[in-house]
């Protein structure tokens, strides 16, 4: 089919929303894996029918599901995520050292070139890779040697939640961890270094310029300019023009620079989107107005996008993996809320319409543009 397929993960199952390229009429699937938490639901850019789901539950743990037919049928894949060697310890909430314990998979990032290669970002924070379509998983363990004794769990847990793959350099992988910061490998995951120079966490860390420990919420990159990175930190929206070697704040005129997701327009590398949230303790939009903010200058100057979004009495949150773009022209922007709405814009954010309003709380949104 031509059009888009929106992959939605919620607290109680996965959903597939489909439309043609006009993006006006939508079909909403029945729940997939009903009753399970779906932290992430993503598709291979090489083979759009290859889908991966992170399925978990407080009762029955973590599962990985794979579909090879666009979500019609599923097979349960490997779910053994064993840390390499002796897992060691990291900093716990009370300042003591706490042993590493696998809890769940936050992100599944399929390779840009091979449908059988997929990366998994997990809690307690680590990066795993599968080269056999999710049947077995191996840790890229050098990451956890980068001052990991100083990493500490954020309120949502100590999770590796964001994985960026460089389309121009197959050896470059960038990840973000709460609360440890951003890290980069330039050799395919063999070695890593922190890339947090310029981040300031004056309310969260005793040393606001610490090398690790920052609560990075999300990262975004445009494929045509992989050295330009955008970051939504706990507080502050940041930009790097050198692959993360240094960062500058670009929060500018945002009503709040706290938030979770950040995304880049599919065709305009300098057009970025955030959803400001009031504060770290009040996880809802400022003034009860759900506003996406767009900057066409790569930050600093922001405009509120409100048409079609509730502008009063709105107290939902938008989680870090719940904002995505399609590759059509004009670019489509999509986000899901903790209130169960999935909103779509088919005009780069100028206007919005809900695709569906009453799903379970939305945890992730990814979009596939189908040929």
């Amino acid at each position: 089919m031509n059009g888009v397929r929106v992959l939605v993960g919620t607290r109680k199952g996965a959903f597939i929303l489909t439309s043609d390229e006009k993006r006006k009429r939508w079909k909403v699937s029945e729940p997939i894996f009903p009753g399970w938490e779906i932290y992430h639901f993503s598709g291979s850019p090489v083979d759009p029918n290859r889908l991966y789901v992170s399925q978990s539950s407080g009762w029955f743990g973590q599962l990985i599901q794979r579909s090879d037919d666009g979500g019609k049928t599923w097979q349960t894949m490997g779910n053994k995520f064993a840390y390499e060697g002796i897992p060691g310890t990291h900093q716990w909430y009370d300042g003591t050292q706490h042993p590493w314990e696998f809890k769940r998979v936050w992100q599944l990032k399929p390779s840009l070139t091979d449908p059988d290669t997929v990366y998994a970002g997990v809690e307690d924070a680590a990066l795993f890779r599968s080269s056999d379509g999710g049947q077995s998983w191996q840790e890229l363990a050098e990451l956890r040697k980068v001052k990991s004794e100083l990493w500490q769990p954020g309120a949502g847990g100590m999770c590796l939640h964001t994985i960026l793959l460089d389309p121009q350099d197959a050896n470059r992988i960038i990840v973000a961890i709460s609360a440890a910061g951003a890290f980069r490998s330039d050799d395919g995951g063999e070695s890593w270094r922190p890339i947090n120079n310029g981040l300031k966490s004056q309310y969260e860390l005793p040393d606001p310029d610490a090398e690790v420990g920052h609560c990075v919420h999300n990262l975004a990159m445009h494929p045509s300019k992989p050295n330009v990175l955008f970051m939504q930190k706990h507080w502050d929206v940041m930009r790097s023009d050198n692959g993360g070697d240094s960062w500058d704040e670009v929060s500018g005129n945002l009503p709040s620079d706290f938030g979770f997701p950040i995304a880049v327009h599919a065709h305009e590398p300098n057009t970025i989107y955030v959803v400001p949230i009031k504060s770290d303790s009040e996880h809802y939009p400022p003034e009860g107005k759900l506003r996406v903010y767009r900057s066409r200058s790569g930050g600093q100057e922001w405009e509120a996008l409100t048409r079609g979004l509730p502008q009063k009495n709105c107290y939902v949150n938008v989680l870090r993996t719940a904002l995505a773009v399609d590759a059509l022209d004009p670019c489509g922007i999509y986000f899901g809320t903790t209130g169960g709405q999935v909103y779509a814009s088919a005009d780069s954010g100028d206007s919005w319409k809900d695709i569906v309003r009453d799903l379970p709380s939305v945890m992730s949104v990814e979009v596939q543009t189908l040929p």
Binding site: W36, W59, G61, L63, T76
Partner: protein, 98 residues
């Protein structure tokens, strides 16, 4: 054959009936029953017990013959009526919530 009753989510995951039967050679213990269950239904690996430590997941319970066997050592023999197939071993998702 040992009878095992699965909770709804695991029954759906294994694409099976609520009650399954698995072959277990003596001794019939929680460990040997789970070994056979996971061998027959590999998609259940990690859902009842941790794959690395083999520890029961915190919110999973084992019931049989009106008793909670969740805290019984996993190598202890199960009751005769489970071992001879007249009673099932229940795998239960624990009450959790408010």
């Amino acid at each position: 054959m040992i009878r095992v009753i699965l909770p709804t989510h695991l029954r759906r995951l294994a694409n099976t009936e609520r009650q399954v039967q698995v072959p277990v050679n003596a001794p019939v213990t929680i460990r040997t029953v789970l070994d056979s269950l996971e061998n027959t239904y590999p998609m259940l690996k990690g859902t009842i017990r941790d794959q690395n430590t083999l520890q029961r997941r915190a919110f999973v319970r084992f019931f049989a013959c009106g008793q909670d066997l969740s805290h019984v050592p996993t190598d202890d023999p199960l009751p005769d009526s489970v071992a001879n197939g007249s009673e099932p071993l229940w795998v239960v998702g624990a009450m959790a919530g408010g």
